[in-house]
Symmetry: D3
Subunit: 226 residues, 6 copies
Amino acid sequence: MLKEPFILKMSGHAFDDEELLLSHARLIKELWNDGHKMIVVTGGGSLARRYINIARKAGANESLLDSIGISVSRLNALLLASILSDIAHVVIPSNLEETFKAWTTGRLVIVGGFQPGQSTATVALLVAEYLGFKHVVDCANIDAVYTSDPKVDPNARRIDRISTSELINMLRSKTVAGTYDLLDPWALSIAKRSSITIYIINCSSPNNLVSFVKQGLNAGTIITPT
Amino acid sequence: MLKEPFILKMSGHAFDDEELLLSHARLIKELWNDGHKMIVVTGGGSLARRYINIARKAGANESLLDSIGISVSRLNALLLASILSDIAHVVIPSNLEETFKAWTTGRLVIVGGFQPGQSTATVALLVAEYLGFKHVVDCANIDAVYTSDPKVDPNARRIDRISTSELINMLRSKTVAGTYDLLDPWALSIAKRSSITIYIINCSSPNNLVSFVKQGLNAGTIITPT
Amino acid sequence: MLKEPFILKMSGHAFDDEELLLSHARLIKELWNDGHKMIVVTGGGSLARRYINIARKAGANESLLDSIGISVSRLNALLLASILSDIAHVVIPSNLEETFKAWTTGRLVIVGGFQPGQSTATVALLVAEYLGFKHVVDCANIDAVYTSDPKVDPNARRIDRISTSELINMLRSKTVAGTYDLLDPWALSIAKRSSITIYIINCSSPNNLVSFVKQGLNAGTIITPT
Amino acid sequence: MLKEPFILKMSGHAFDDEELLLSHARLIKELWNDGHKMIVVTGGGSLARRYINIARKAGANESLLDSIGISVSRLNALLLASILSDIAHVVIPSNLEETFKAWTTGRLVIVGGFQPGQSTATVALLVAEYLGFKHVVDCANIDAVYTSDPKVDPNARRIDRISTSELINMLRSKTVAGTYDLLDPWALSIAKRSSITIYIINCSSPNNLVSFVKQGLNAGTIITPT
Amino acid sequence: MLKEPFILKMSGHAFDDEELLLSHARLIKELWNDGHKMIVVTGGGSLARRYINIARKAGANESLLDSIGISVSRLNALLLASILSDIAHVVIPSNLEETFKAWTTGRLVIVGGFQPGQSTATVALLVAEYLGFKHVVDCANIDAVYTSDPKVDPNARRIDRISTSELINMLRSKTVAGTYDLLDPWALSIAKRSSITIYIINCSSPNNLVSFVKQGLNAGTIITPT
Amino acid sequence: MLKEPFILKMSGHAFDDEELLLSHARLIKELWNDGHKMIVVTGGGSLARRYINIARKAGANESLLDSIGISVSRLNALLLASILSDIAHVVIPSNLEETFKAWTTGRLVIVGGFQPGQSTATVALLVAEYLGFKHVVDCANIDAVYTSDPKVDPNARRIDRISTSELINMLRSKTVAGTYDLLDPWALSIAKRSSITIYIINCSSPNNLVSFVKQGLNAGTIITPT
């Protein structure tokens, strides 16, 4: 059960499916009204990929491609804030300082990306670290981290608990599957240096989020800072 | 032929078709490099409608729905600026004052929407007025304004030239078709008070834009301020 | 009686008469301290007209003339905030997003105009819509909307209640007097789309404001969204 | 003759008289188009005094009274920029950093006040110092600094040239008249530390400004940094 | 005993000694948690002097030298805010308006300098005046204001209480020692016009601060507004 | 010889030694006036370490420690801009968008850090990528990258040229010395994805910088994108 404030990272995937998005919005509101304080970080999803592909074909540089992805993730943040406008800070912060100010208002803060060259996973960890939060809930569309891709490898083993250091090593040696969209070494190194625990939750079924936050159930993989 | 700086309003339609968008980008660059100075105003298109529909179903207020549309139009502006990054101001202005500052740099400025409660057509006219431009080229996906919907009414008459006052009256009495997405009374009243001429150009074929700007050919409808 | 938060639109007229202004300030404070939450939108008044006239003679464009009017309305907002500094947000917001942030502080927020091309009546409706307020109190220097100008036409009829749609039609056909400075079609169309009720209150006598807000008495004309 | 960039301080007095203002605007434009680069700092004049008086009666604190004066001086700056919009930076900077950015655009920059607790004379000197200008032209409504008030004292002596140090001493001992609205010790101490020369020019007759800048004639009092 | 909100001016001196700084931080937190509301204004200290000296040798203008000092004082403010991050507003305001907004959050606000040409003592008074505070506690590294330098003059007399007017006169005639780093005429004139009392407290021993704020003991010199 | 615009990364080390700093400033100015366009990114140096240590002892979180380092690097940027104020953009940008705007002015732009969680090396690469620069000159206080620490290992081999991929691998396996302060995997991954070449230049002797930029001589290690 999470009693302290946490970051909820919602992958862009959630914005590709209208029903899934509305379910998530409903559950976030339920958690909020039950007193669970959080900041939501939204990804860009397939829309970001579509726009980035167009710009890449036209020769845009990588930094601007990232800017486009950020712009989509912020659009997603605004969409969610609009749906939750009775509890949300409807102005979307665009950096850590604005996020701090929004957080002081006591409203539900929702942010997208901040800057080229970093994933929204990294944004989630940076916000947690800046505000002193110790928990990041990664609402993903997989059920856990595996030792290899379970779709391919019959020996793939589901990982229940792993340290950030071990996971960084596994990512480097590419012996771990399914984390590409979830976590990158930079995000993990921030978790490590600031003792932040990351929980991978399978949000294909949104109720997992509620049962995890309220009762501590159904975590896929717990990534511990040590 | 347009020798003075002008506003190029690109409907969101152009962003629904990748090939059309890249063609437009190429032609804008060609015009710019030929010395035609302009500011581009982009719309939101079908993506804006999709996102707005999701938020509307979830009960978001009209102001936030407009904010979502603005966010999409600004995403479109950033996409176009990324494609044209060698000539464009890649930071997208979000109000008239920022647009002025961007314009002083001598780079191609691209903006989306500014504020809830106004169309991108109105933004196009507001920018023209603020900077003292006298021409707005409305790059549309129809060939002209008609007296009624030509798809329905065999007596529909294509209008080559009309004054803003007459068009405002026609819009009020709903005897004119095809302008809904193009122009609204507020945009027209700004054109009128500041003597700005609006040119409807059929950009389904992007070359129309070039032949209009370079040679004054192929205007669909000219809306004159008096 | 107004129990929900509302917008109080103060015409610039109130700033032309020092005694009237101080009376209004006193009553706003009384209402605020009685728990009536509101955002005040101030107009430009005769000072705006004087400054605009000078710039017009010198050939300034309409957009800059509007900017001058906005600057005066913001000066008026600052004057009122200074008088009410123990309850007011003394930094004057200049757009919807800043207004939202100021509103989250729990202080009395006072704004002037935002952008060229829109009246302060429109600003009042835009702020109401953005924040989800359903009531705009238009503190005017007439007692009601009439079917024609009562100073000229002995058959002029005072309107107690009218829908936004009907009023828009009357404004278009120019059969209604006295609304020119109060309301414009754009403001009314926002009221309509977002179900906001507008109350015309005669504030030449400031106590009307208090009796209206506290007891629901003395409304001049009620403009209903449907 | 002034060949280097200079600050032109226009007292708020110039904004109390429409004809005088338009004359000044015409001459500033003439100087600018002749290649004389300058930044204009505008005061608040009688309008500032009127607004400040209202707020003072209502008990506003001194800081907010100054804020009101700043707001009026910025309104005056916008009025002048609107009149000169073909050469001016129509967005009015509100601090030194924004003034620097505006100056890099090559347009005529016009500012009002910046911050409570400082006169527009001080703003003029601060801008000069920040940008490395060595000349401040104080366009006043008196012809020179005098040893005492010439309207009262038949022995009053007109001062043609004085050092900042001497003038500071005279101001402290109150043996000098007519500088109250012109200069204060803080402004003079900045002139002194940064070797900036201040020229008092009688702008009741605007041509004095042109003959001073173009030919070095008609300076009332020259205040030298040493 | 100070029950109302006050400004705590910490001289840059406190940042030259790590132990002293941490003691101050601890005591500020203790006072804050006891319900004493304050805004802290930090100076630049010896680090500011070192950086300014380098730039001065290289010919930087006085305004930029001041900017460097401001930058150091803001760095010091951030250092203190980081140490006190559980109660502090960790985003450092850079002008009066941002300070107001930070103050509305209810957190401990810490600021450095604002603008070239003014001391941090002046900033302390400007913030007090803007927010309506009536007390400035000047946490200094001397025990009081003296009639002359007690290290040099055996007849130096310690001043327990003095009015701002008298102190301004003494500063002008240079008959008072030890105030150079504490107070300047501009800061004092703001105290005078807004009836703000300044308390010089010897913070070489940090407990003096606590005994002064909690019990009204150990003030060195009280500078009264009249 | 570098003819295209480049990033000059100055380690904080240069700010620890006044003479070295002034030499660098002189040479940067010489290069600039010879037509070599660049953006300078400054580090924090020993001052950053000192301040961070104080905050760390007091328990500040890692994000705020990084913020303190950024604040020092920005102070260093301002110091350098003040020394070079006749060619520099004296307002220091704090993110990529502000850097773009500053760059459009044609002045020498100097930036420090941007955001917690990233090194100034990463900032250097991010700015290069955003603006489309293809060269980063890393002005370091070592002469090259070595296979191991030459002070310890007699078999240490100096590396003249290495690819970003190889260097990332070496960094991971810790078989390379002396890069800790220079480069991190994130910075290198940006260089790789955007084909940016990094040149390690020994700036303990500042003339190396000039001979490298003007004649292509004296590069320590060249890190190629492929």
